[in-house]
Symmetry: C2
Subunit: 450 residues, 2 copies
Amino acid sequence: MSTPRAASISGFPEWLPSERIVELAVLDTARSIFELHGFASIETRSVEPLSELLRKGEIDKEVYVLRRLHAAPTEADPGLGLHFDLTVPLARYVLANAGHLDFPFRRYQIQKVWRGERPQEGRSREFTQADIDIVDRTDLAFHHEVEMAVVMSSLLAALPIPPAVIHVSNRKLAEGFYRAIGAPDPAAVLQVIDKLDKIGPEATARMLVEGAGLPAKAADQCLELASICSADASFAERVGALGVGSALLEEGITELAAVIEGVNAQRPGSVVADLRIARGLDYYTGTVYETVLVGHERVGSIASGGRYDTLASDTKTTYPGVGISLGVTRLVTVLLNRELVSASRSVPSVVLVAVNDESSRPDSDRIAAKLRARGIATEVAPRADRFGKQIRYADRRGIPYVWFPGAPEPVKDIRSGVQVVADPDDWCPLPQDMRPQVIRADSVTQTGPR
Amino acid sequence: MSTPRAASISGFPEWLPSERIVELAVLDTARSIFELHGFASIETRSVEPLSELLRKGEIDKEVYVLRRLHAAPTEADPGLGLHFDLTVPLARYVLANAGHLDFPFRRYQIQKVWRGERPQEGRSREFTQADIDIVDRTDLAFHHEVEMAVVMSSLLAALPIPPAVIHVSNRKLAEGFYRAIGAPDPAAVLQVIDKLDKIGPEATARMLVEGAGLPAKAADQCLELASICSADASFAERVGALGVGSALLEEGITELAAVIEGVNAQRPGSVVADLRIARGLDYYTGTVYETVLVGHERVGSIASGGRYDTLASDTKTTYPGVGISLGVTRLVTVLLNRELVSASRSVPSVVLVAVNDESSRPDSDRIAAKLRARGIATEVAPRADRFGKQIRYADRRGIPYVWFPGAPEPVKDIRSGVQVVADPDDWCPLPQDMRPQVIRADSVTQTGPR
């Protein structure tokens, strides 16, 4: 059915089976942590009306538009595009189903999204996100802004990855400060500050003056604010030392201190206050989060989000929300490209049952069925080759055990060569062999010679 | 971020959280059964080059074409479309990665696919498939054609669904028969026979004569062949009684008998030989499978597939394959629309930890953390309302237990009202409460009054 024009398409990553095991480990851990915290799974359709995708001028997201190949010339254009995040679809889902949901609505959503951006490391055109959000009606309790960081920190700690730190800021703090120093357009300041890491402080100062209309002194104050970072609530004193005051700024400081202290009480060292975090154009109104993989800062944030006072609204009700999103594909790409982890084998199989000759294949099938009934993933050798060749079949895939049918029946650990006589109704592999393991490269190093 | 223009889009189904639990049960069971049989997970990108999607004239699949909204007018059209199945992408993946795969390559793939067809029950424009395939180089052993039906039958038996029967036929049998009775174009006959269920025998006979160029007697013979169905190998005698013979026909009969007997030896009663099964235009060359959900035949096959002698090929190598695909969305739609199953609750949470007052929320958080550390999904009440209201929060979502912080600490089963004093470091819920259960409607009926 296919010819060899099989080149990869830039920005649409695919994994080999052993790499997919690493991705599955991330996905399974995310789901497990989210469910432990009481988030319910939903999926939304992959498409939304273009009108919905392009609201609030999200044209930078580079939407993919769909068209049916055989659409009749007279057929009204349905105007559908692939979703570029899981937040716009969540807002639409909440409005469409509000009468059937219980609020606060706690949901997780793990799906692919698409953006036609220029591909680079950490940025694909098709990628998977793992989002959690809590959405309420009219009011959303502030403690959920603490909770988001606690859940994401628990997930990051459970993953086979380098240490990760969640950097937190607050839109009220930033907007209050910018207004107090006379910024004519606080949103424009935020957008410039968002580029600080990329373009450096000098170019940022210039853009704050020329683009965002700030006096030179105010631009310097913005850079000073953005330089404040602390692992505890001491950031508040440093903001105070800048001599700028407003009610909104104070509210933002109080909220940010509460998030830092609240999260650190539950998960010490997992968050820092970092006033450089801006989150660009997104319409956040309170806490904002970005997450740095220590030693791999250049790939960008691996988990981002924040609070929206108006995630969605209809004529009767406003739905505030807070959420955070793990960039699964970005994270897995870093783990694999930089060889930080590897899978112990490329298949789920624990056991290969050998076949003595084709006429006795049913005997091998019966042994396999008994092992599977006890939860042990098992393959039967595809060909009744000589045993050396059947063992190589297992070895190439990393299958740890080969079972030889007969009476008595030996099972061999082909890594150690140790062979025991066993009964498929009660034999057990080593517990760590039951599933493929994802191994961190640095943990392998630790077991090497000193 | 969203306004109430939130109507559903026909053909793009979405589930409420409790419905999603049913879908997750199907997906989890499929993955578990596939991995028990040694199939490795892969995913392929959602897009393929249009040239690849439209090979072999698959225009009936109604491809969705993609375009970047902001593509420059001069930008070369990338010519990408969303995949309409997981077989075309598998063929491309095997060719692209042949040097990195071990053959026979056993993979499962659970992904969404898209077809711009007219939506109806059992037919969506976006839907999820769960596929297994075995692909080898040059030769693929016949016993894998038995194995496919064994694995799918194991999966169907593990799902919370009505009984399902896999109907099997064989392309060699059909083609050998059609050639022997003088059909000028056996493929055209197959396509007509594929419509038999929809249009009835009289219209089929007419189309066989007028469209496929058969003499009237040969058309009758085709209908007689298509009427043959048996739960064992006795179909062979009925084919023989039609008095038609050829080497290809004999080979098909032998293979089909081997599949029926081989599968029934491992999973009695799970397959029937059914010579009406044609599988339309698809390029199968041996065994073909369709699956009927007993009592719900009208929704169409819920699991289909077959053998391809040439799944893929390049200048050096031919890759034969055999596969079968569970139509997850079709199956889940039937289960939900016909109320055949329901979920025991709408959230993963086993326990709601109550909050005495906002100042003691950290105490409730600590209890929740202890329960979660022991694998018990737990939420903390979002508001320190009076306890009656907090219990209603749990009740509305189906959360079975409410934990009241204090000393001593009682936990209440809110279904029975039974309350016990417990320690979050060793309390356990009933085992069946650990996860939401998917309950068959007929099992509920059995517990009703006689």
